[in-house]
Amino acid sequence: MTLFAFLQDNLARTLFLAWEHVWLVGLSLLIAMCTGIPIGIAITRSKDLAQKVLAGANVIMTVPSIALFGLMLPILAIVGHGLGKVPAVIALVLYSLLPIIRNTFIAIKNVDPALVDAGRGMGMGKWRLLREVEIPLAVPVILAGLKTAAVMNIGIAAIAAYVGAGGLGVFIQQGIARSHETMILTGALAVSLLAIVVDLAMSLLERWVTPKGLKI
């Protein structure tokens, strides 16, 4: 069966799985963003804390995804969510944290100290300085971190199909189980395409939210 014919027969299902995939990645990215960015900013105030947090996030990153699902299974089974979307979202959030925290931390740290000095010397408080100067200047780098996390998570979410989270990984998993090459190919191509599209979209967003004065 050709790829095209397979798609024609399974269009609704493909779209549904793609939607599920996007939903998994999107939700986990949102959660990681809402926790990772504040953590990244917070740790700029303490060198000691920054080292510990970044080292911790690094350790999580090094655990292979399939192993992480395995590790979470008995723990989440206690609350009855050993399989399905819950472990998938948790794993995706954990993986996203490192690039988001690290990029936020680096971006804020790299703001020209002269600007911070000028702001403080003019009477800006910590929050105002953060809101009006540090965060706007850090936005491009923070967004680059989000992009890395998003693209990486599209790949990891495909593996989450093995714990029953759904998504385009289902095609790959089931295709392998049934030796159905076209099915595998469809899943693989769809995941790749999704990653490319998200990367492009995030690049556009990055350009759009970068303060105008930084683009000159």
Binding site: D117, A118, G121, M124, E132, P136, L137, P211, G213, I216
Partner: protein
């Protein structure tokens, strides 16, 4: 008024402690520019940063307008002073108008008020508001950026301005120009200014008073003239340089050294033989020819011999005119370059204000020395 009273700052504790400023006491009077001068690491920047509490005072007190800064809210204190730094520190994400508006916005001014103030300030620093208001810092040259930096410091019309080597990062030609502009501005605004510099030329040019620091101690606090002519010790005289008499020439204005009522003036319409006779009688080597109270040129006896015409037509032109407000250094330079020992001096309208000669320059320098050395001569 800014009063420094036994101000001491110690960084670190125990064996690693470093004394950045050591028991510094002096006062910057209202409307005065005090330049903090000294080599790097002498404590001048630390002292400035303690003034708006970017650094805490270890011992002693700093009073601003009579109030102890440590008893004031740090943010309110900073809002009440302008702050201009060497790295300029314009926020690249904000437009020029947005940068200037930072402090007025924090003070809660309304939009219209802020907008008109921004335009007024841009005008003051010679940047056309129509062109620059909505631009970003990255679109401006270094000199233009620092003009905006100065405008930002002046935004909320503070009485006090703290400037940390504000013109240090600008190329020499632009620096000279922006210094001149700032002097003109300060002439009108009369702010109380604490100005950090490591450049003796800049200090002489900008300062009403210079505070010279060494290793955290205040070595001398006095007017530029006094620092140049009466250095407190070897460190100061070394720092101001062996050419300090020449530096005084840069400080002294022509109007203070010139002869405002010269005798050797002749009108352009006078006849050559008459003028020659007069010059020979009075033994004048040179006479200034004027017409309608404006200098036309000069004549000397050799030039007039055997001539019959009017001196206005015979006169040699001066290669340059000197303004009364220019430094004496320029007059001396003109004399050396053109081999003429006297020049006419004109006021802002081009009318003759007086004349200046080499001897007068020398005399005014000697007068300055005489004031200082009277005591030692008596001994």
């Amino acid at each position: 008024m800014i009063e420094y009273d036994s101000v001491t700052k110690i960084f670190g504790i125990g064996k690693k402690a470093v004394t950045a400023t050591d028991n510094v006491t002096f006062t910057i009077a209202d409307g005065e520019t005090a330049v903090f001068l000294g080599p790097s690491g002498c404590g001048k920047t630390t002292l400035l940063r303690m003034t708006n509490r970017l650094e805490a005072v270890t011992r002693g007190t700093i009073r601003v307008m009579g109030r102890d800064t440590m008893e004031m809210d740090a943010q309110k204190l900073r809002l009440s002073m302008g702050y201009v730094i060497q790295q300029i520190g314009l926020f690249p994400n904000k437009t020029i108008a947005g940068n200037i508006a930072v402090v007025p916005r924090m003070l809660g001014w309304d939009r219209g008020e802020i907008r008109s103030r921004v335009d007024e300030l841009l005008g003051m620093v010679n940047l056309d508001p129509e062109i620059y208001r909505d631009r970003y810092p990255a679109e401006l040259s270094g000199g233009q950026q620092q003009r905006v930096g100065v405008a930002r410091g002046l935004a909320a019309n503070p009485d006090i301005l703290l400037m940390d080597e504000p013109f240090g990062a600008i190329d020499p030609i632009n620096r000279d120009q922006i210094q001149d502009e700032f002097l003109r501005l300060q002439g009108k605004l009369k702010k109380t200014i604490a100005f950090v510099s490591h450049d003796i030329h800049e200090a002489i040019k900008m300062a009403d008073k210079i505070a010279i620091f060494k290793d955290g101690r205040l070595v001398q606090f006095d007017t530029p003239e006094a620092i140049l002519m009466r250095p407190a010790n070897k460190f100061v005289s070394d720092f101001v340089g062996a050419d300090r008499a020449l530096k005084v020439l840069g400080l002294l204005r022509i109007r203070d050294a010139m002869n405002p009522e010269p005798r050797n003036l002749v009108q352009a319409g006078e006849d050559a033989p008459g003028v020659l006779k007069m010059m020979e009688a009075q033994n004048l080597p040179l006479a200034f020819v004027i017409k309608d109270n404006r200098p036309v040129g000069y004549v000397h006896p050799k030039l007039l011999k055997y001539e019959q015409g009017r001196v206005g037509e015979l006169a040699e032109k001066f290669p340059e005119t000197l303004g009364a407000r220019e430094p004496v250094r320029d007059a001396l330079s003109a004399m050396l370059m053109h081999d003429i020992t006297a020049f006419p001096v004109v006021d802002d309208n081009g009318n003759l204000a007086g004349t200046i000669s080499y001897r007068q320059i020398q005399k005014s320098i000697l007068d300055l020395y005489a004031d200082d050395h009277e005591e030692s001569k008596i001994e």
